[in-house]
Amino acid sequence: MAIAKARIKVPKSVAKGEIFQVKTLISHKMETGLRKDKKTGEKIPRMILNRFVCKYNGEEVFACDWSTPISANPYTAFYLKASESGTLDFIWTDDEGSVFEKSADIMVT
């Protein structure tokens, strides 16, 4: 299983209905599957994070499917609007089926 470290940045509190930015960064080698082992000549199997989901109080609010061209250590920034306080869960899944999770609380004032 691969080891990944994630960083997320969300404001601690936002005004109701305010649009705010969420930034995420996760360390992952993102092996494309196109490279060959220099010694054996065999293809190195693809090993990337293929799906990223952001859930807000259990409900999916942002998701994307990633494929080969996404760089190593992918950085994602997106915008959300909150109407009530709750928890944001960030979930990354890779080709080996490993799941990386991180969450943050947000206060709506």
Binding site: K5, L25, A72, N73, Y75
Partner: protein, 270 residues
């Protein structure tokens, strides 16, 4: 008729040459603030705006993950002695502040220069009685980034006199020695042609202020020695081993070339 045609082509060629030169020059006139001391310029000033933007944003900088993992390693107990780095050195923000500005430095016991990576491994084997980390391995890179990061914003000030002088001279000789099938020295690119274009890349002065640097091409963090090896391979010369004396001496000379420039670790380069 044919002759005129050739003349026309030459004129077009000249025009292109002039344009290429013109686009390169505004960057040289820019005020780079702390990234420039006299004629010495950090690699930051040669990087594209997009690349600089990644470095400017500590959150978006993928190498900052290394700072986090380096901090975790700093506090982790390892080895027979049951000690962590923090047990001797305490808070890295205080004890390691300024360290990056003076390395590599002369070590009396070794009788030669020692860089930060070697110092970390020395501590591991001698003080912690732990296994030494392989050069360019993930934990050693993380720890080096973490230690050097503590000096961010401080000017490089390496000692090149006294016992370090002969090693400095060796590093200088290495820097100016032509090598490889292409018969090129470090200086041919990084002194004579800094700011010029080599294939599609802009040549920098080859400053090491931001090392270990996150290189977009590598898609990860790499040490000065990895960069030296890459350069040596590109001129078709046989690279020296990681942690070799030749490269540590060269590290001192290159650090001295960037004297007064600020430590940027971890920097982003293309």
């Amino acid at each position: 008729m044919k002759k005129t045609h050739q003349g026309l082509l030459a004129a077009v060629g000249m025009a292109i040459g002039v344009t290429a030169f013109a686009t390169a020059s505004p960057a040289q006139d820019m005020d780079w603030g702390a990234y420039q001391v006299e004629d010495r310029r950090s690699g930051y000033t040669y990087a594209k705006a997009e690349t600089r933007a990644i470095q400017d944003d500590d959150f978006g900088n993928p190498a900052m993950i290394r700072v986090d993992s380096g901090e975790a390693l700093w506090n982790k107990v390892d080895g027979e002695a049951g000690k962590s780095c923090a047990d001797c050195h305490g808070d890295a923000a205080e004890s390691m502040r300024g360290v990056a500005t003076s390395y590599p430095k002369f070590d009396g016991a070794l009788g030669k220069l020692k860089n930060i990576e070697q110092q970390i491994n020395y501590c591991r084997t001698e003080r912690m009685e732990a296994k030494e980390w392989k050069y360019e391995s993930s934990p050693l890179l993380s720890m080096t980034v973490y230690v050097r990061h503590q000096s961010r914003g401080m000017p490089i000030n390496v000692a090149i006199d006294g016992p370090a002088a002969p090693f400095f001279e060796k590093g200088k000789a290495f820097y100016n020695q032509r090598r490889g099938l292409l018969d090129m020295s470090c200086a041919n690119c990084h002194v004579d042609n800094a700011g010029g274009i080599i294939r599609a890349n802009t040549l920098s002065q080859g400053q090491t202020t931001g090392f270990p640097v996150y290189r977009l091409k590598w898609q990860k963090v790499g040490s000065t020695h990895r960069r030296f090896r890459g350069c040596n391979k590109q001129v078709r010369s046989t690279p020296y081993a990681y942690s070799s004396d030749e490269y540590v001496n060269l590290e001192l000379f290159v650090a001295w070339r960037g004297r007064g420039l600020l430590v940027e670790t971890p920097a982003i380069r293309n």
